[in-house]
């Protein structure tokens, strides 16, 4: 596990690049409005890779979409909370102002590289798109820059490949093209929603290496959304674990893996399969699972969302939602039992 220095530690105390605070997202369903994101707090510093981990339906993708105002419409909306980015509250911006930020200051790459590229447009033109829109370049100039970008993300013979249609490219190549598109305007923040889930393991590593390189060169911060703890352990400096629409634990990667506090984080780490024998020669622990099911969003419980499945449950867990409390510098936990007792 790599040791990452906190980039802001040695500098003046500046406000974070992105500060999501008490974000509540509401989605209308046939059963009435539900809140898949119910009070999320995230702070991302400039130039860091920040991991968000959680199982399907925990609200991590919707949190990412709401940052760029991409919630499904008309049924989805930001109910309350703020998303501060470079002195602006993205939650309050209108569509026109958001469009100036999308692909320009904040870019996003998606899970599905096979279908996230327009099948009837050359990849060079697609990378050039952001430059034409946000930088006002002519198609020709934008295309020339797009070729540089394709070279940068490791597309061999980019000058010729720029005219290829996406169906000629493998999944890993397409994800590289997606990254080139996202990086075209040198954004400050890159939101990567399960960027490697659809790729095989060697290609995953290459794509993540590429994102590491871009972080180092351009100083772009990456919000890395994944359900893969291995990726987070290797790449992220800080991690937030989400469950039931809230952040249940937030810490540096090191803290999280060495001293997980929240029972859900414990459960998740125990559920990561391990190959082979342990260093001390013992057989690996049998793979454990977290009993129970994810909470029903249509009927939210008044207390902790994880209370149903939690082995450490006390009476307060069913009655009152615990606060996100600091247990150590940079380590916050939302738990009545483990979050308070430590201090």
């Amino acid at each position: 596990m790599a040791v990452h220095a906190d980039p802001s530690a040695s500098e003046l105390p500046v406000s974070p690049l992105l500060d999501v605070s008490r974000l509540v997202v509401e989605i209308d369903t046939l059963q009435g409005p539900v809140r898949p994101v119910d009070g999320v707090d995230l702070r991302i510093e400039a130039g860091e890779i920040f991991g968000v981990v959680g199982e399907s339906g925990c609200g991590k993708s919707l949190t990412a979409l709401s940052i760029l105002g991409l919630l499904p419409r008309p049924q989805g909306r930001i109910r309350s909370g703020s998303i501060r980015f470079e002195d602006q509250d993205l939650a309050r911006l209108d569509e026109r102002d958001l469009r100036r930020i999308r692909g320009n200051r904040i870019a996003m790459i998606f899970q599905e590289p096979m279908t996230s590229l327009n099948p009837v447009l050359g990849i060079g033109d697609q990378v050039a798109e952001a430059l034409v829109i946000h930088r006002g370049l002519s198609r020709r100039d934008a295309l020339a820059q797009a070729i540089h970008l394709l070279e940068r993300v490791g597309i061999a013979d980019a000058r010729h490949r720029a005219h290829d249609f996406p169906h000629r490219l493998s999944g890993g190549m397409r994800q590289r093209v997606m990254i080139a598109m996202a990086m075209a305007c040198r954004p400050k923040l890159l939101i990567a929603d399960e960027p490697t889930t659809a790729l095989d393991v060697t290609i995953q590593a290459q794509v993540l290496d590429l994102m590491d390189d871009l972080k180092a060169e351009d100083g772009v911060a990456v919000l890395l959304i994944t359900h893969n703890f291995g990726i987070v352990a290797e790449r992220a400096a800080r991690v937030a674990v989400m469950y039931g629409g809230v952040v249940v634990e937030e810490a540096s990667t090191e803290q999280l893996f060495e001293q997980p506090r929240h029972p859900y984080t414990h459960g998740l780490l125990a559920a990561v399969p391990q190959l082979g024998r342990r260093r001390d020669g013992m057989r690996p622990h049998p793979l454990s699972e977290i009993p129970g099911m994810v909470p029903n969003l249509a009927r939210p419980a008044p207390g902790c969302a994880f209370a149903d499945r939690c082995a450490l449950r006390v009476e307060a867990c069913l009655r009152e939602r615990p606060p996100l409390a600091a247990v150590a510098p940079g380590h916050r936990v939302r738990c009545h039992v483990t979050g308070v007792s430590a201090q």
Partner: protein, 306 residues
């Protein structure tokens, strides 16, 4: 990944880009051609249509006589050396009239379909893309337009505007609009859900640009195929309306109008209806064959050679 290639001189890159563009485009055409040939009758159909287009373009060179010049000394002459397709009741050369008529018929079909495309596709794309109430209102209006039987609608329009070739084209275009609007809407609805349209939003692409560069090219194939078919149908309809006296007026050498005046002499001079009738049949037949090849070539499900 550590060996990131250094940036090359921009001019060099641009020059290379233009060269590569040529090969990519030629490649796409080659694939289209190979697919097009899979329908065995598409090529004969296309050649037939091409022949009519050439005849229309070079009508003054091909026609042996002035199509409007009467020669009362030579009326209702059967086909012969002087007049290959014979002459009509006013002594006009039928070959020359059929040749010039190709211009009228082709422009009837093409202009009507282009007008219908220009109106119907934007209507359908906007309805499908915006959705909700806008979609509902637009499509109900389109439904109203569709509720009229085609020729009846055309007759109603012409009775208001008066009979002329241009009004026939307008009428045919108007009742073709719903076909393109519904087609474009349906295709837009499915393309709209594709991740690359979502990616456009995430990239900050304005809506109009998304529609023009990302939605429209992806729905173009089915629309082009139906457009080719509608050219054939529009030619038939416009000729029918001219036959009924609602379209091109005498002495215009429109094929439908020629059929109408020729049918009075069908027993003594059958060539007056045979040649314009044959011209309509061959042109429409050719367009239908061509359309079939286009359908196969542009259908992504049949492009397994890619």
């Amino acid at each position: 990944m550590n060996d990131i290639p250094s940036f090359t001189a921009a001019a060099h890159v641009v020059a290379g880009a233009n060269a590569a563009e040529g090969t990519a485009r030629r490649n796409g055409l080659a694939i289209f051609w190979r697919q097009f040939r899979r329908s065995q009758l598409a090529l004969p159909g296309g050649l037939l249509v091409l022949a009519f287009v050439l005849v229309a373009c070079f009508a003054p060179l091909i026609a042996t006589h002035d199509p409007l010049k009467n020669d009362l000394a030579r009326t209702l002459m059967p086909p012969g050396a002087e007049n290959w397709f014979g002459t009509d009741e006013l002594g006009r050369d039928v070959l020359s009239r059929v040749v010039y008529g190709a211009r009228l018929s082709l422009s009837e079909g093409l202009v009507a379909v282009l007008l219908a495309l220009a109106a119907g596709v934007p209507i359908g794309v906007v309805a499908g893309y915006v959705g909700g109430r806008t979609d509902m209102i637009i499509m109900r209006l389109i439904d109203v337009l569709m509720a009229f039987p085609g020729v009846l609608l055309a007759i109603a329009i012409i009775s208001v505007l008066g009979p002329s070739l241009f009004n026939v084209i307008l009428a045919v275009a108007l009742y073709t609009i719903p076909i393109f609007a519904r087609l474009a809407r349906g295709a837009t609805l499915s393309v709209k859900e594709e991740p690359y349209i979502e990616a456009c939003r995430a990239l900050g692409v304005p809506h109009l640009r998304t529609l023009w560069r990302h939605v429209l090219p992806n729905i173009a194939a089915p629309i082009l195929v139906i457009a080719a078919l509608r050219v054939a149908i529009s030619i038939l309809t416009a000729s029918s309306l001219s036959f009924l006296g609602l379209g091109a007026q005498p002495p215009s050498p429109e094929w439908g109008a020629m059929l109408a005046s020729g049918r009075n002499y069908i027993l003594i001079a059958p060539h007056l209806v045979i040649f314009p009738g044959l011209a309509i049949v061959l042109l429409v037949f050719g367009l239908n064959l061509f359309q079939d090849g286009l359908r196969i070539a542009l259908d992504p499900k049949t492009t397994d050679l890619r």
